[in-house]
């Protein structure tokens, strides 16, 4: 009871940051995590807090700890972003999925509407430039690029609150969007949707920007629900 208030929450916070990095594919399978004491220092928490979060990550089978000379904590070799997404989708109820999408849409829609009023076209050009430079076909790279672009558009709303909310929801929703963008054709379609959104924001067309976001989310949810049904059948 004499543990500083907030420290209990801190272990969960450290756990969530690392878990998101693993499930989102930022930390690759097999990556060695820093030692407990180092991890504590990095996140500015007590060593006991770091130990607790590592334990939770082990319990969730995201991390394995090996003893010995080449020991330490590692991201599990089977960590695969698509797999995590698929499992989460299978375990989620349809009502929860639709609710998550509704929340995501409400926030992202508000962000793009404000961004359309407030962004300078030069700022949109920077985002577009990065999308244009992407030529590869790596789904993980594409997902991160698309997430970054959505975050940057949201930040152009000039609202710190909405941007923070968008970031939080994106971390939750992005693994599902990755499932929608599984094939190259799907990614091409997402890319055109994103480019159309950038055009609308650049042209200060709030209404068009909002409805483009609504269309793409609605379409994504339809396809996720189809996928969910397939998973249940298999």
């Amino acid at each position: 009871m004499f543990q500083p208030i907030g420290d209990a929450g801190r272990a969960a916070l450290v756990e969530r940051r690392i878990a998101e990095a693993i499930t989102g594919g930022v930390l690759a399978p097999g990556t060695k995590l820093p030692a407990e004491s180092e991890l504590a220092k990095l996140f500015g928490v007590a060593p006991v807090t770091a130990r607790e979060s590592l334990q939770s990550l082990r319990d969730r089978r995201l991390v394995v700890t090996r003893r010995g000379r080449n020991g330490g904590s590692f991201v599990v070799e089977t960590a695969n972003a698509a797999e995590f997404g698929t499992r989460a989708l299978r375990d989620m109820s349809r009502v929860a999925l639709r609710d998550l999408a509704a929340h995501y849409l409400a926030v992202t829609g508000a962000c793009v509407a404000l961004a359309a009023q407030r962004a300078d076209p030069s700022e949109i050009m920077h985002i577009r430039g990065r999308l244009d430079r992407f030529t590869g076909n790596d789904p993980l790279v594409w997902r991160r690029l698309a997430d970054d672009a959505h975050l940057e558009i949201s930040a152009l709303s000039q609202s710190a609150r909405l941007t923070r909310e968008q970031m939080r929801l994106q971390a939750e929703f992005s693994p599902f969007l990755a499932l929608v963008d599984a094939s190259e054709t799907d990614r091409d379609r997402s890319r055109s949707q994103l480019l159309a959104l950038l055009d609308a924001v650049s042209e200060a067309d709030s209404a068009a920007a909002t409805s483009l976001v609504r269309e793409s989310i609605t379409e994504a949810v339809d396809r996720l629900i189809d996928r969910q049904a397939e998973l249940a059948g298999s």
Partner: protein
């Protein structure tokens, strides 16, 4: 432009320049020192992120204590690919606890955070001059609506990073608006993209862009030391 208008605008210029001069001076105070420290550290071995953190920490503390302006975050951002053990690094302290910034992927797999196109990095790097970036939502460091003041650091001709400090727009509004209100007429401060930083006009919101017909004929006067503009609306 009437004489009266000119006087108000030039007083506003002094107020805005004076306010941000404290921030610019605070960074310029260690721009050369950190270059010297980095050069010395490189001579004794490869420069790592943790060594860089040690070098920057005292300067960041000093910057967070800058008199006259309440600084939210401060530190040094290394030039991309300039360190031995990471592609990018922010040696940054922020918030009431002055906590060192930890980004999960930066901390664990030394992942590359590409800040090459962000205004506070790009402009000082390209111009070789200090810059005031924003207002913008800083989703990398503070997650707040912020202005970042940044100054380039070079060793001989090699760009090695930027020193920087964040001031929350909330703070700028509290500090600057009362000084502008005293000048009597409506004054709006905008950045080079026409985005409102603060305004004494209750109907002009921070963050909005001054575009369109209503604003085209407004008097505009550029500041001298900062890339901001005074608009009399």
């Amino acid at each position: 432009m009437t004489a009266e208008v000119t006087t108000v605008a030039s007083r506003a210029v002094s107020a805005v320049d004076g306010y941000f001069a404290d921030a610019l001076d605070a960074l310029e105070a260690w721009q050369l020192d950190i270059a010297r420290d980095i050069a010395a550290a490189r001579r004794s071995g490869p420069l790592t992120t943790s060594r860089l953190d040690e070098l920057v920490a005292p300067y960041a503390r000093q910057t967070l204590d800058t008199p006259g302006i309440s600084v939210y975050g401060a530190g040094f951002i290394a030039a991309l690919d300039s360190l031995a053990d990471a592609a990018s690094h922010l040696a940054w302290w922020q918030g009431p606890q002055r906590a060192r910034l930890t980004l999960a992927n930066q901390a664990i797999n030394k992942g590359n955070i590409d800040y090459s196109e962000l205004e506070w990095y790009r402009v000082p790097m390209l111009t070789g001059e200090a810059h005031i970036a924003g207002p913008y939502v800083d989703y990398l460091c503070s997650d707040e609506y912020t202005i970042t003041v940044a100054a380039p650091v070079s060793i001989d001709d090699e760009f090695v990073g930027v020193t920087g400090l964040d001031v929350l727009i909330d703070t700028v509004e509290r500090d600057l608006t009362p000084r502008l209100v005293k000048l009597g007429s409506a004054i709006t401060i905008v950045n080079s993209a026409g985005r409102v930083v603060v305004s004494t006009n209750r109907r002009v919101a921070t963050g909005e862009s001054l575009r369109g017909d209503g604003y085209r004929d407004a008097e505009r006067v550029p500041c001298v030391r900062t890339p901001l503009e005074i608009v009399l609306i």
